[in-house]
Symmetry: C2
Subunit: 563 residues, 2 copies
Amino acid sequence: MSALFTKHQDLLTKALDACSHRYAWSGWPENPSSKIHGEEKPAAGLARFEALLGQDFPLAQPGEVARVGEEVSPYTGEPLGVRYPRADPEVLFTAINSARPAWAAATPEARVGVCLEILQRCGEQLFENAHATMHTSGQSYVMAFAGSGANALDRGLEALAYAHKAMQDVPATAHWERKFGRDGVASLDKRYRLVPRGIGVVICCATFPLWNTYPALCASLATGNPVVLKPHPAATLPVALVARVCREVLAEAGYDPNLVTLAADTRADPATLPLIQHPDTAIIDFTGSPRFGSWLEQNCPGKQVYTETAGCNSVVLESTDDLQATARAVAHSLCQASAQMCTSVQNIHVPAAGVRVAGEWVPHAEVAAAICSAVDGWLADPRAAATLCGTLFDPAVQSNVDRYRQLAAAQQRILRDSAPYENPGFPAARTATPLVIAASEDDRDWYREEVFGPVSFIIANADAEACLRDATGNARDCGAITSHVYSTDAEFLARAVDAYHAAGASVACNLTGMPINFAAAYSDFHVTGLNPAGNACLADLAFVSNRFRIVQSKFMGVAPAPA
Amino acid sequence: MSALFTKHQDLLTKALDACSHRYAWSGWPENPSSKIHGEEKPAAGLARFEALLGQDFPLAQPGEVARVGEEVSPYTGEPLGVRYPRADPEVLFTAINSARPAWAAATPEARVGVCLEILQRCGEQLFENAHATMHTSGQSYVMAFAGSGANALDRGLEALAYAHKAMQDVPATAHWERKFGRDGVASLDKRYRLVPRGIGVVICCATFPLWNTYPALCASLATGNPVVLKPHPAATLPVALVARVCREVLAEAGYDPNLVTLAADTRADPATLPLIQHPDTAIIDFTGSPRFGSWLEQNCPGKQVYTETAGCNSVVLESTDDLQATARAVAHSLCQASAQMCTSVQNIHVPAAGVRVAGEWVPHAEVAAAICSAVDGWLADPRAAATLCGTLFDPAVQSNVDRYRQLAAAQQRILRDSAPYENPGFPAARTATPLVIAASEDDRDWYREEVFGPVSFIIANADAEACLRDATGNARDCGAITSHVYSTDAEFLARAVDAYHAAGASVACNLTGMPINFAAAYSDFHVTGLNPAGNACLADLAFVSNRFRIVQSKFMGVAPAPA
């Protein structure tokens, strides 16, 4: 039994139990408050983040041909000035290949132990990671600490638990004997060995750089595959912090640090294609645009490809007992992280004739007004607004907002206009409050794709059935990661659940009083793999069980002791 | 709990335990002897087989456009005259699609119960299946009863056990609650539903028609996917017998029989491409040629493709304490089923200088002679020879033998010539005893591909290391399903195991006193998926866990009772 495995076994056991019963649990603190952590830890984290700025990031990797770095803080508009190694893929892969045999030969427990230690150490840098995430992906400090910290680490541990479970399913040895006809008893000792597939490339996204990175990293690394982390050029620092931890832990545990490497690049000269098309790359984990995700799914035969992309997440509002609570729940999704989350709602389907609220009809316009007013409610306090909305990670998001503002204004369809909000700590922050647009089915071109950023549509479909038909059709054709239904009618709810499921989508019913964007590790199966928003679920057995293969040796009589 | 699941639960439990501990176990009898079964059952099976000949096979399926059938018995040279429905794929798929929702909605236990009943019923027709297999794939009666009967059923049960395990890993419901900030406790009921991927097409091979068919059928059907069985035109009857059982059991259990259909075709007008390219086909299981298998792996993006093809299985003979026993073991593989098994040995690597036998050097020529003489030994008794060798399933196999006879004769390389043997029960049987050819590394073109049928090479490599290098290189480049090493040197064995594993191949060491072709369900992981002989293992978690996906619904408060 490896020392690191033993050290963290309780954590793993708890995660396995949480995955089996899918209750609420977290292995890390979600709240960065100094009331919990004291003053010193948060300050030290900030200091460590600041010490990285304007420097070469401390990462010594093979094949470095240049230093690159083009991150600009959405909070300050200033370049971070951190420079990361750009690698010659051939040299990098040669070094990685020489690290593979020892890692493949390590026991599953040893590898899982290393991954547990990595997660634990990443948990110790949550404060600097929060600042790094803030100033790259534009999240608020609180969101960066929780969503890109604790919640993301939980997802890594969840994937690791599945990897452990899948590997544990294969015994190391067996004894087998039987009689064949008149021959004597044939007695065989058998040994089963897990063989990793090859190099795994993890392509990370800009807005939640670690959300799928921890799971993909753990799934591949635990099953014996080296991992190349390919961060988004706009959000490299959080990933680099993880790569550094991985390399430290691997080296301390006696393995080659090149089992985890960072492949930084620039927008002008991306590194992705040479990495994924390299013959030694066997696994590709991708988070990003539906277009490139779909290209990867179609064009990498013989490689394992796991994608999470995006869709047009919907709300169908049929009826409710509490319009304010429902409006607040939906509005929260429109505001949170400026709707740059994979779980953000975009399309709000409300019957043209309105909805029943506690038995009374409320007209469509009044429902729309309640949602817009709830948005305003969330934004009333500037400090709370800043925590909820964060910034727009990239100027392109502002362009999206501007384009739809113009389109909608031309047709007098703006229900709630977008404007910058003033961020108390960062006067130069790139911010935009939610733009809410009135739409009908004639505007399907507008809302049948992901409009990235704080742009949403309140769609007046003919009736509740038409709402459901439109929303589920869009989920099937254009993808969906989250879908919401609000209804007090049990039969409608049941129909809605079936309709979303038939479209390959999961669905949440009547969620209020909580952030409806929240995806819970160990409990929610995140992404179904059944619609265009991704082909994999993070995490389930299918996410891990084909990252390794099984070879066996059998010996007549007693197997010789391993060399 | 479904009645069929309860009825067969003990069998499933036993299979799950056997998979976990990988000991020897079988759920069905391997021996057709009337000493075990009495006279009546075997006779009734034969009578039922004979009653099928020269008839339309009793199978009423949608979209039948013609009856086809071109099976010719390798034992009699006579057509079987059984005619099977040829289907219009569009009509067939429309009917299948209307069967899907109810099957998808059934509980995993209900579906597993139906599969268990199917296997049990197929177990009751082992006698007619044995005759059907004999007169199509050309196996001997005993082999057809065991290898294509009990052993194949065991593999179906093994895959079913894995499917059950993977589905059981997902709970049906969960309760989740936690506090978010100052909001109260959010309390959610969650439901998880398994969603089958779509239609599964199972492409069966001619020589072991049910070997991979039962596992693929069970893996797809249990996870909710309808299955289209596409038999080889030369070996349709065994598959049709299974299809009939499936349809009966499904109908009796209250499901649409079109969940399992037979898609018979002819060599001149194959049905495969329209089936696999149909947009509703989500899963393809293939057993057959490496060329088409590889094509499928590369050209079906978005579909799950599981292949078992072929390779050039090897023996490396470094040293032995008992040359006779070793020669007998290898010779058995050259004879069994006329080397038409996926586990048959083709390339026998023996150092040019000979091998150490119980400490004494025995020259290469003497080792080769021992193997050839052991072949003769297995063939000495005509009845035993017929049971061991069976027939050549197709004239093309005889052509392979003839071609290599000519090549080898021209260079005076024939170590043991092939000739027909006289089959006691069937004077017109198409038979050929093993052709054994002397080769060196200069003849790599001859042996670096599968030569289907009783053709083998005794290859004189420079030394034992060269034997190992050649054999493992061929496994990596050309595929291998079984590999054997004979050595009394523990260090050489350890090196050999590592070398085969590095080539993506499993390896058996020093097997004697048993049929070395034998692959044990529940114990051997059959096919590694790491070399060109196939991309899947039948069975492991990876074989089953991606045949379904998971969708969820979550409800604030208490979930309404299911409709």
